[in-house]
Symmetry: D2
Subunit: 357 residues, 4 copies
């Protein structure tokens, strides 16, 4: 799809990235470097302030010629209409508040603003950093909240695991095709989800040739986020089991979700529900029968591949999704929201297929 197809936008939007040296920041920069209607005008970072962006991200050498700035909300307000925050939770909300005060529309990729109930946030994150901003924030999953995102001034971009789990399960939950009790979400993520700071958990020799679960049995903070979105879709409260795993690859999340099938729904019925649910969603593809998702097929893209099955021996429905955790699971999704906020086509600048192989 040629970029010019989206030329109804009368003017370019200008965007800033705050926290540009981490992986979500890097992915935002990569996508904006070739976005046809959004211009990257400002990059900010703490540890990398004062450096050429290409010294922090050599992949941008000769492509993006910006210098990383220390954070300054007023300065960003001069340079940009939108700010994308690739910051750790706990740091993002304060900067988002400052940027809002300066008149900048904010897309926060951290967890600070995702949970609508401050009390639930406190349970999982220890304290509430969001303040008044929480009630203003819209959950940035376009496939569920497209219209609210268009007019939002603050968007809380979903976590990577929640994106994969919600996209896979939402159509089944909406149409009552599965039991809301006993859902299991078994997710497998690439290592970039752990961020760019070196750690034992992401040290190559301890990660390659090994797969392992972590933060199981209700310990991972993405659990309430998945439950919140699916509960909204269902119209009643859902509690589920979420098990993340670390896979020896850089990018990608595969979600294998289990739920008891209801009303004898078989795979065709589940796929039909998904196709209907995502009819207007350019980033989602329901795979044809017989093809199962593979994170390799979405690597580097903003796409979600979904597939469904029912184990008739046990009555179990299986909902599968593959996304790129940094793409549709973070930076791509943020750009998708920004497009909506800027009046651009939702998929503008996001049409590139996966880099396969």
């Amino acid at each position: 799809m040629p970029a010019s197809a989206s030329s109804t936008a009368s003017a370019n939007a200008r965007a800033a990235i705050v926290g540009v040296s981490g992986y979500t920041g890097a992915e935002l920069a990569r996508l904006l470097a070739v976005h046809p209607h959004v211009r990257l005008t400002h990059v900010a970072g703490a540890s990398s302030a004062g450096k050429r962006l290409a010294d922090v991200l050599p992949s941008l050498e000769g492509i993006v010629d910006l210098v990383v700035q220390p954070f300054d909300a007023e300065r960003i307000a001069k340079d940009a209409d939108f700010a994308l925050l690739g910051l750790p939770h706990g740091e993002a909300a304060a900067k988002a508040t400052a940027l809002r005060a300066a008149g900048v529309r904010v897309l926060d990729l951290s967890a600070d603003l995702r949970l609508t109930d401050a009390a639930v946030h406190v349970v999982w994150y220890g304290e509430d950093h969001a303040g008044a901003l929480r009630s203003e924030a819209v959950y940035g999953l376009p496939e569920l909240f497209r219209d609210r995102i268009r007019s939002a001034n603050v968007v809380a971009v979903p976590g990577c695991y929640p994106t994969g789990a919600i996209l896979a399960l939402a159509p089944l939950v909406r149409e009552g095709l599965v039991s809301l009790d006993g859902i299991v979400v078994d997710a497998k993520s690439g290592v970039s989800g752990a961020g760019r700071s070196p750690s034992a958990a992401a040290h190559f020799p301890e990660t390659s040739e090994g797969i392992r679960p972590y933060k199981i049995a209700g310990e991972h903070r993405h659990t309430p986020e998945i439950e919140q979105a699916l509960s909204q879709v269902a119209g009643r409260s859902i509690t589920l089991t979420f098990t993340p795993h670390l896979v020896p690859m850089s990018r990608g999340i595969l979600t294998t979700a289990y739920a008891f099938s209801k009303e004898g729904a078989l795979a065709d019925r589940l796929r039909e529900a998904a196709r209907s649910f995502y009819a207007d969603s350019p980033s989602v593809a329901i795979l044809p029968p017989g093809r199962l998702p593979d994170t390799l097929w979405v690597r580097g893209s903003n796409r979600a591949h979904l597939q469904y099955a029912v184990d008739t021996r046990t009555g179990r429905a299986i909902a599968l999704s593959a996304i790129d955790n940094l793409g549709k699971g973070a930076a791509g999704q943020a750009i998708q929201c920004l497009n909506l906020m800027a009046g651009l086509p939702e998929g503008d600048g996001l049409g590139a297929p996966a880099v396969f192989p």
Copy 2:
């Protein structure tokens, strides 16, 4: 553990490998090359007959000086007391029958003899190749059937997925700590499980940086094998959902099994059940609380690492295991059975820790 600890065996056993050029054959050769009390005296193969073994497996260059022979049951009977078959299902049973007729004790690593009910075998494999041998075969999972294996003349070495799933779940099933209905086994395997023949599914560029499910929803042939063993442990029939995944690594299976916890059993209780169940099993370790299994920690070894958790928010028990699919999931387990059959200590020649990292 010095190998000399097992020197109670008065004489060396002699072993042959049939189908030596595949990955299970290669792993058998690797283990027998340094086994203190079993001597590798004969290797047979179809495609590689006539070649030096080290030309088929260069890792054995300068270590094993055997030439691959065409299959000949009588010749094997002269050279060896035991034959280990690393052959595709459908090919193994006939050779096992010939070897038994020649007086050789057989360990078959294929699926031909694993299911006790020929009718079930036909459902999953199309036809029954085992004939009379099926009733004679003992399922070669020492942790469950140690005593029967000692005196067996034919052992059906379990599949890799079943080994991981059964070891994780058996203690919980035995003690009634989980509901027998609604069990989900979500397993993640390295690529060597697909065998040594090149295929699109194991082609490096289509495998690296991607994770994918395959043969889901009751299609994978290891399903009835898991169900058979757990049903034997439970004393009643169990049907479960089994979902295999392919992970971009060469070796290892991580099993994440879900079952509804019963009687308020928490993680400590589950671990206690496992410790008791595996008290006499040198190849199984129950990890201490707080440490989750990683296939990297068992790579190249005959060990199984188990861990347990309960998600108290949902009442779900999670049983985890990590094994090397070629080690405890195939060749290591076969040697473990051979040791028992030969009157050697069960762990003889199998004490090497994982190659970490």
Copy 3:
């Protein structure tokens, strides 16, 4: 760089891919799917004819809606102005001849037309398939032959290894900064260079966790291609040692080239030569002092990263390059040539940075 920057082209060019199901074909389809001024109008393939392209390349699901056609030069002439051939050597030349006869401008990614001397081609490839087309073909390395490519009707797109080696060494050879005798090119490639057909050499378990040389000591067919281009640059015949290696990664070629430094040239002088040589080349970046190339920084892009050093202890100059073997080493370079042939800016549709990490 917004795609609209290149909108001086009055009309879209139309392109066909022949041999779309291999990796170079797949990469061509990926790049053309979002090219702002070239439209992918036709895809042809032998084994995949009749299938939806998205069934052959699921990464294109929902993005490209073409059906693979059997090869038909007349039909392609109707649908397209340019044909890109992603075919094995020996197959390409005949199809290129047919397409030329039908009036289609051809970019051949095989080796059939790269060597200018048919006799040399016969030495390395056994027979000459090119016929009259050989003399018409222009070697498609824009950084060396930009002007000739613009008006060419037949372009022989360089091999992946030659691209990396020539780009690294050409500036030094041109300016006489290194001795032309005793050059060593030690190159390290990702596995996708071996193509999409499953083979033992690219089987995941035999490729992961291993690095190995192959076709060393003058056996690899890219040797004469490197020598031909550097000889043209030097104005005299060059013979060199080329050693390819297979690295456990999907994409990328790192080239480490050694030559004796002349006239006391140090690293700064070598970098200066390269900066001057590539002043008008949008796809080439000379890295700043202190940063060494990494294939990860160019993965998925059309970029070449170069760096230079001199070992003053031994008088040895070291020229380094990193490219993506499927990008700048194949499909990206082909599009770069097509842009020139179509009167578009050389970097049109090729500005996307690497997918990092």
Copy 4:
């Protein structure tokens, strides 16, 4: 080779590991855990003191039941006859001196004692930590210095890169088959060589799918070590170019060394020289013609695979070696030396083939 083959040793040797939590320490522990005639009696470490060894190295869970001790030379002298030091350079020499004073025979795997000339050490490492111990230390490459190692009280175990380079080149240098000027050593290492401490350079997402050179053009500290050993073999001073690369795999070093062939020596002659040179070396295999080394074939073993070629077009000899950087390149080699020092067969406990695949 059954372990019992080495039972001529009348008593078990006792060994301590100092610095057990790093990768060389871990590999030493792995090998000693199953060594038939050397008992691991003591493990010491700084950061991990007080912990169960199996908590630091879960691969040893249920296998080794030792607690990590703070360093105490007297205590080690009580527990062990030999101490193996897996410590950073600069830390090792002082502990080695203390251990010698307490009567313990020392194998130091750091660089502190490898260079015989203190002045050269200072040039490359900044200061000399070895003191009087330097003159006492024997360079622990058994294939070159077998006899001196037997009676040594202090052995400086070679670096990983030097082991690969020296083993490949020594036979050619010894027999004068190559020119001693203009040698290039292009080496490719797995990531574990960077140690167990997390770092940006070994962070999975920045390492996977990328290959890169580092410390090129005479900056890497293994350069003088390679030159020292080859100069000793040649009987005159050799200066060479050494270029290390980091490969996306955990273990292994492939060395591709280039030298001008002399006296028309072809591949057969080079192989013959190597076979003669390593006739008594159980850890070295010269591969048969037509098979090139692959680090995968030696992974987890103490073996070195060598191969030779001559590019007759350019007169260049190519010497290739593959080793496991933690095995023959570190811990395995240390055990090999310890065996010699203890009067055991050189290959005792080191006969295990590579874990393939």
